[in-house]
């Protein structure tokens, strides 16, 4: 708590030697409590928290970058398990990071609660009486006036300071005034709001969920656990939370810059046009229809959640027929973009045939051949689209029952029959083309081109409260840093009157205040300020 120098008693009182070597349990706990709630501890914990947060930006984190963690394990098989054991891939939920911030919050509570009580009392009590020696105060001034003037000075000072927003008490010839209670109020609001932020993050996070789904144009998904490709629930999430609405991706549009030389191919806008059917209640089976456009910064509000657009790409529609002409594979397959120009990678698995086979395929929206013979994409929109395919024959590994990544083909138990070093050229298909697969695998057709959108259905009830508390904290800290808290005294003297002021914390204009008060009371300019600030 930065605002006041006097507030943490254990620090500002001289440090006393511990006289009794045998402290009682109560004595020890009091000692520990005082250590924990001391300003110095709070400061050290803050600095420790800053340092402890650093590794989370150096090592990939499971929460933000799970693929990065997998990669790290692949690249550093020796080191990774060691780092994992000390939770360096989960820094922000790790025992040590949690320990620091929990201690910090205990320290904060231990400091704020007593200070709130003290402040509540201060808010109700009168400003303290004038000190005996005004010259001892950080800013003070003596003014000579006529007898008649000085007789009225206390009364005038009372009116003047009250008008300026001070709390004023007059005792005989002296006036005590104090202002700036908002400084400490702001300080307390700030710290209490931080507790609010922490609770809102914790409780809100527990009830939150987010589900991801890749949806090709024309496809529909239902908001239930089976409807998602991946799903991340909070600790207290219950399946009943999901309102079973359905969402169809009617159209996905992208605008790429085709005009500005320096900007060719940069995406200008992504638009996912969706229509949703929303059940009106659990008993009632009537559905309400809702349509909308989801953009990157514009999620669609749905009952109990928002739908966000998090990614997009191409989904070529491909049909594979066996040598007799029977369709063995058909559909739009999402290809994952690999570059800004949307060179995309997709995997096709054909399990239900005599001889299982798989295809690793690249898609180039606007194809061009490099000098090396390798293909690349020049522009992200489909001006001259081309699919290339490498074909593998062998066990797809789908029969074991274990879930397999649909975007990857494990070729370790397969033989390559087209592309690479197989001796057969990889296949190339333009839109609408049909080509023969190697051997007697049949044919493949590139029927049409669709797009897909990666959607994220998220719900976090804590967000609103985090924001409320964060804004309160911001307001509080602003008040506590900018509102000056000061006391002003005025007293009649033999030859005139004197003024003194004392600030709590930083107050750049203390001397000016004293001079102004003196001026207003005497009706003339004064200049003999004593300027010793500390």
């Amino acid at each position: 708590m930065p605002s006041s120098q006097q507030s943490r008693p254990s620090l500002d009182a001289p440090e006393q030697p511990i006289n009794s070597p045998t402290l009682s349990v109560a004595g020890w706990s009091r000692w520990i409590w005082r250590q924990i709630t001391s300003m110095r501890t709070a400061l050290l914990l803050l600095l420790m928290l800053a340092v402890a947060a650093v590794p989370g930006s150096v090592f990939p984190q499971r929460s933000a970058d799970p693929n990065g963690v997998t990669q790290y394990f692949d690249n550093n098989p020796q080191l990774a398990p060691v780092l994992d054991a000390i939770q360096l891939f989960d820094v922000y939920t790790s025992a040590w990071f949690s320990a620091i911030y929990i201690l910090l919050f205990i320290s904060l509570i231990g400091c704020v609660v007593p200070r709130t009580l003290v402040h509540a009392k201060a808010l109700r009590s009168a400003p303290p009486a004038a000190p005996r020696l005004f010259s001892r105060m950080p800013a003070s001034l003596k003014v000579k006036t006529t007898k008649a003037q000085s007789a009225k000075v206390a009364e005038q000072a009372q009116v003047l300071l009250k008008k300026q927003g001070y709390r004023v008490v007059r005792t005989g010839d002296a006036v005590s005034a104090e202002r700036g209670y908002l400084r400490e109020t702001g300080n307390l609001v700030f710290h209490l709001s931080l507790i609010g932020v922490l609770l809102a993050v914790g409780i809100g996070g527990g009830q939150s969920y987010s589900g991801q789904r890749v949806l090709v144009e024309g496809e529909t998904f239902v908001n239930n656990l089976a409807g998602f490709d991946s799903f991340a629930p909070g600790t207290f999430f219950k399946e009943e939370q999901l309102v079973p609405f359905s969402v169809t991706l009617d159209k996905f549009e992208v605008d790429f810059d085709f005009v500005n030389q320096t900007n060719i191919g940069t995406p200008l806008d992504f638009r996912a046009s969706v229509s949703a059917l929303i059940p009106q209640s659990a008993q009632n089976s009537t559905l309400a229809k809702k349509t909308g456009v989801i953009r990157v910064n514009e999620p669609l509000a749905m009952p109990g959640s928002n739908i966000y657009l998090t990614g997009n790409g191409y989904a070529p529609e491909i049909t594979i027929r066996d040598k007799k002409g029977n369709i063995t594979y058909s559909g739009a397959t999402a290809f994952l973009p690999q570059s800004a120009k949307y060179t995309s990678l997709g995997v096709i698995k054909v399990p239900d045939v005599e001889k299982q086979f798989g295809i690793i395929s690249f898609f180039y929206p606007t194809v061009a051949e490099l000098d090396t013979g390798a293909l690349t994409s020049l522009y992200p929109a489909p001006i001259d689209p081309l699919l290339t395919m490498n074909v593998y024959v062998g066990d797809l590994g789908l029969d074991g029952g274990s879930p397999k990544n649909v975007y990857a083909l494990d070729t370790s138990a397969m033989t390559q029959v087209a592309g690479g070093k197989s001796g057969v050229k990889g296949l190339r298909l333009q839109l609408g083309e049909t080509v023969k697969l190697p051997g007697d695998l049949g044919t493949v057709t590139f029927d049409s081109l669709k797009r897909f959108a990666s959607l994220d259905v998220s719900y976090n009830p804590g967000g609103f409260w985090v924001l409320v508390f964060a804004l309160m904290a911001l307001g509080g800290v602003t008040l506590s840093l900018l509102v000056p808290r000061r006391r002003v005294w005025v007293r009649k003297t033999e030859t005139g009157f004197e003024v003194a002021a004392l600030a709590r914390g930083d107050d750049p204009i203390l001397e000016k205040v004293v001079a102004e008060v003196a001026e207003a009371l005497s009706g003339k300019t004064t200049k003999t300020t004593k300027s010793e600030s500390k």
Partner: protein, 304 residues
Amino acid sequence: MTSIALNPELASISRLIIQGSMLFYSAAFLSFVFHLSRLASTKKSLRQAATKLERAGIVLLAIAAVIHGSGVVLRGIAASRVPWANMYEFSITGSFIVVVIFLIALFIKDIRLIATFVSGFTLLILGSADVVFWVNVKSLMPALQSYWLVIHVLVAVLATAFFNIAAALSIAYIFKTAKWVENSKLKFVALLKRILGLFPSIEKLESLAYRFNIIGFILWSFTLIAGAIWAERAWHRYWGWDTKEVWTFIIWTIYAGYLHANATRGWSGKRSAWLAIIGFVAILFNFTVVNLFFKGLHVYSGLK
């Protein structure tokens, strides 16, 4: 169909103008350096002549700022949006704001003596912006197309500017209180000592730095909150410990520590000055190393 009109020719003109402003910054910087060395001279006549140099330096600085500012505005017009969407633009806008705040602060407080630092630092930032960070005008990626770009980034720039000036004051404080400066008998250090003797008292330096830092802290807190609101819109969560979020948090925590240090016995003064400097180093780290080398969602350097 969304379309946008960029003007690369105007961007080149803006670049030229900003390079031109660097000439004036150099001249201002040299004036301030000569001014300081003359002030520190043992000859009285030289010391008296120095004030003119300082006045010339401030005039040059003001001219540089006007040219610099017009370059920034042209950059915005060339890109048809706010000029702070990549590292080049952030650098030119940020350093412009530092100079403007410094010039305004000159009217309120006598902080002329850090003019050398401010002009030198601006020169350094503009130089590296031009050499390392330059990119031609580009449109905003869809994730950046939000009014939060205007608010969040502008306030972050402002906060950085305040922290920057405070760091300059803290550096002066550290030198002024350094024992090795006090005890050294080297001639060069003697000169430094005389220059430091011209600076405001250490109490004054400390309280000035504090005032710049509290404004910086309030603005930084706002930056953090605004960033979280925007992240909730664009990335479907208000906080996800993205590398940039981590460093924003670290910087906030360091400055929170600084504020506590100022009210802790044994920690005000030198230690808190060090904290302010560490805080600013973290800001520079966040802007350079984190932007360029760390993996994260805030990828907007525009460099390849």
